[in-house]
């Protein structure tokens, strides 16, 4: 007797025929939408997009209704709308990245990394001046903010994950609330507590302090998530070997979460590197190179962009602003990819 081995079937998978049908319907929808734009008063790309979506989802709805039943047809409507939503979400992202790349490209030249704006105004040709002072200012301010925020953020995360005291829940809530503090309020706070009563001077350090307020919750929350990923067995092993909690945390838990903590730092930097409002209020904003955060106004990338964009008005000023924006965006994308890569590696 010959036994036949049945070939595996996947009856639920969409067949080529179904796919072709759907593709045909979408093409038909596009054609009808094109016709609608031509004949009626709808105009331009937006009119086409709207009518295309409406017609295509209606066609698919009718097809499902004909082939199957009302439930399937309604289901197809949901998938149409979900696809529309994701497209609507993606359009701004792609448009923003595309705009910055295309417009910023003109504002980039080699000299911008070696010059500052002391000898040039925003309306001069793009090749005059540069953003060295802004780059240095941003790096110093973010660096100082990091020095302040990382210890505080890490201690908060350790309190939430290792000590787990009675106040853990309220503290978690407060960290959450702190991450919602509007950036301009952070600037006002530094003004009210330090600048107006004490120093009377706008400096890079004040900018760093304002940025710290925005950075601490990001670092604390990410670090907390990363510390929670460390398996409890590691802590138990440390304690079982006779280590005190301090030795366990410093010798086992924190080293194990190292890449996670680096991720927290990177996300913290990405959060504040483009912050503009507090910088405008408290850092002064200079056109000259300033290496000392404790005295004198300090430039920064957001301030450079802001000034070129708002006080200029010529093509050159806009090109300058977009060029600065491109540099800022590159920073953010690199930081973000780095964080992704590190957190993707999981814990050591």
């Amino acid at each position: 007797m010959q036994s036949t081995i049945p070939t595996p079937q996947t009856p639920w998978a969409t067949s080529i025929q179904q796919r072709l049908n759907t593709a045909g319907l979408i093409l038909l929808g596009a054609a009808l939408a094109g016709a609608a734009v031509k004949t009626t008063g709808l105009s331009g790309k937006l009119g086409f997009a709207v009518s295309f979506f409406l017609i295509a989802s209606l066609l698919i709805f009718i097809q499902q209704l004909r082939l199957r039943d009302l439930a399937a047809a309604k289901d197809s409507l949901l998938s149409s709308f979900a696809s529309l939503a994701i497209v609507l979400t993606l359009i701004p992202i792609l448009s923003i990245v595309g705009t910055v790349a295309v417009k910023g490209y003109k504002g980039i030249h080699f000299g911008m990394f070696t010059n500052d704006m002391t000898m040039a105004s925003v309306n001069d040709p793009v090749t005059a001046g540069g953003l060295l002072h802004a780059l240095v200012g941003t790096i110093i301010m973010v660096g100082v903010a990091l020095l302040i925020s990382f210890p505080i953020g890490l201690l908060t995360a350790l309190y939430l994950t290792e000590i787990r005291g009675n106040l853990a829940r309220p503290i978690k809530f407060l960290v959450q609330a702190m991450s919602g503090v509007p950036s301009i309020v952070a600037g006002l706070f530094i003004l009210s507590i330090l600048v107006i009563p004490v120093t009377q001077e706008l400096t890079g350090l004040m900018g760093s302090l304002a940025l710290s307020i925005l950075m601490i919750p990001t670092i604390a929350r990410t670090a907390e998530e990363m510390l929670l990923l460390i398996p409890n067995e590691l802590r138990e092993a440390g304690v079982a070997l006779g280590a005190t909690q301090w030795r366990t945390v410093s010798g086992v838990v924190v080293p194990a979460a190292k890449s996670g903590l680096v991720t927290a730092v990177i996300l913290g930097i990405a959060r504040i590197i483009g912050e503009t409002a507090p910088i405008l209020l408290v850092s002064g904003g200079a056109d000259a190179l300033n290496f000392n955060p404790a005295s004198g106004p300090m430039g920064s990338l957001p301030f450079y962009i802001w000034k070129a964009f708002l006080t200029g008005g010529t093509e050159e000023a806009y090109a300058r602003a977009w060029g600065g924006m491109l540099i800022l965006l590159i920073f953010i994308v690199v930081l973000f990819s780095l964080a992704r890569y590190l957190s993707g590696r999981k814990v050591a």
Partner: protein, 330 residues
């Protein structure tokens, strides 16, 4: 005999058993607890110092600081302040108006996107889309503002005119003069685009927590994706999604730079969302800060305090919603 003697001599005195932490641990716990309190301290200091600076103005204006809509500093011939009135009303209305537009436009898109990411997209496409949207959440508001001003303004104006043409009989879509540029509507759209990645990320996390067994049970009973989502996912995640929307609202209310760039900040009450004038509290602070004298700075501090408390309340509600509904289903 000698062996036993040796043994008894070698047995150390029993160690005292205690649950008291060592000195090093006491220090460690104290330091970490102190560090953990930092968020409490910082939030407390923010409230305290903004109140101290804003106290004089708040004492004079009292409740009219938030109900009146007049922000004026009159100077006499010598440049001294003759009379000043500070009322935040118009800007509070503007804050709510633009933030509500952002939520109304942004949240449905964000929730549907989250549904798409959780239940439709799969494999590398899903991974790529999720990273892209998370990246968007990290874009600085400056970028959104300029992009909104340069790129979005044109098409948003087109939509505004369309709305005005066909829905102009509804009071909020009417305009006193045909100026559609730089309106609260366009600011709201930019804010919507800014909160979409945030709300999407939270909704996606909530949807991801839907118990798999219930999803599979629904499918086993013959549910389509739509009916499964309606019967399982929505009841399970409703509270969390509302919390996410509130978080988006909080972000939109506190936004400064994007609103300042896109909106034509004028101190007036403007209900008509398509008309090019208005503002929000944060953009008012940025606008007035440059030329403000000491007394006006105090008033701006008070405005900052109002904004701070407002976002704190919104965030608190959102946090409670996310945490109470995010972890249990029906």
């Amino acid at each position: 005999m000698t062996l036993m003697e040796n043994q008894s001599a070698g047995i150390p005195a029993p160690r005292e058993i205690t649950t008291k932490p060592r000195r090093s641990d006491q220090i460690f716990r104290a330091v970490v607890t102190l560090g953990g309190m930092s968020s409490l301290v910082i939030l407390g200091l923010i409230a305290l110092f903004l109140s101290i600076k804003g106290f004089n103005v708040l004492k004079v204006e009292q409740l009219s600081f938030i109900t009146e809509s007049k922000w004026e500093v009159l100077q006499d011939a010598e440049g001294k302040i003759a009379e000043s009135t500070f009322g935040l009303g118009a800007m509070l209305i503007g804050t709510f108006l633009s933030a509500f537009i952002a939520v109304i436009v942004g949240v449905p898109i964000a929730v549907l996107s989250a549904l798409y990411l959780t239940f439709y997209a799969r494999g590398p496409v899903k991974k790529f889309l999720v990273s892209l949207i998370d990246l968007m959440a990290a874009f600085p508001s400056l970028l959104f503002g300029f992009w909104g001003f340069i790129v979005l303004m044109g098409s948003a104006e087109y939509w505004a005119k369309l709305l005005n043409k066909y829905l102009g009989f509804i009071p909020i879509f009417d305009v006193p003069a045909p100026i559609f540029e730089r309106s609260p509507f366009i600011a709201g759209l930019v804010l919507a685009i800014m909160i979409i990645p945030i709300v999407t990320a939270i909704s996606r996390e909530i949807f991801d927590q839907t118990p798999l067994d219930r999803i599979q049970a629904a499918y086993a009973l013959g549910a389509s994706k739509l009916s499964m989502i309606r019967a399982v996912v929505i009841p399970y995640g409703r509270g969390g999604v509302v919390g996410g929307a509130m978080l988006g609202l909080g972000r939109a209310m506190g936004e400064t730079v994007a609103v300042y760039t896109v909106l034509n900040v004028v101190y007036q009450i403007n209900w008509q969302v398509l008309f090019g004038a208005g503002g929000n509290v944060a953009s008012l602070i940025l606008l007035k800060f440059g030329e403000a004298g000491p007394e006006e700075v105090d008033a701006l501090m008070a405005a900052g305090l109002v904004l701070f408390l407002l976002t704190l309340v919104v965030n608190a509600i959102s946090d409670i919603l996310i945490n109470t509904f995010g972890k249990k289903g029906r």
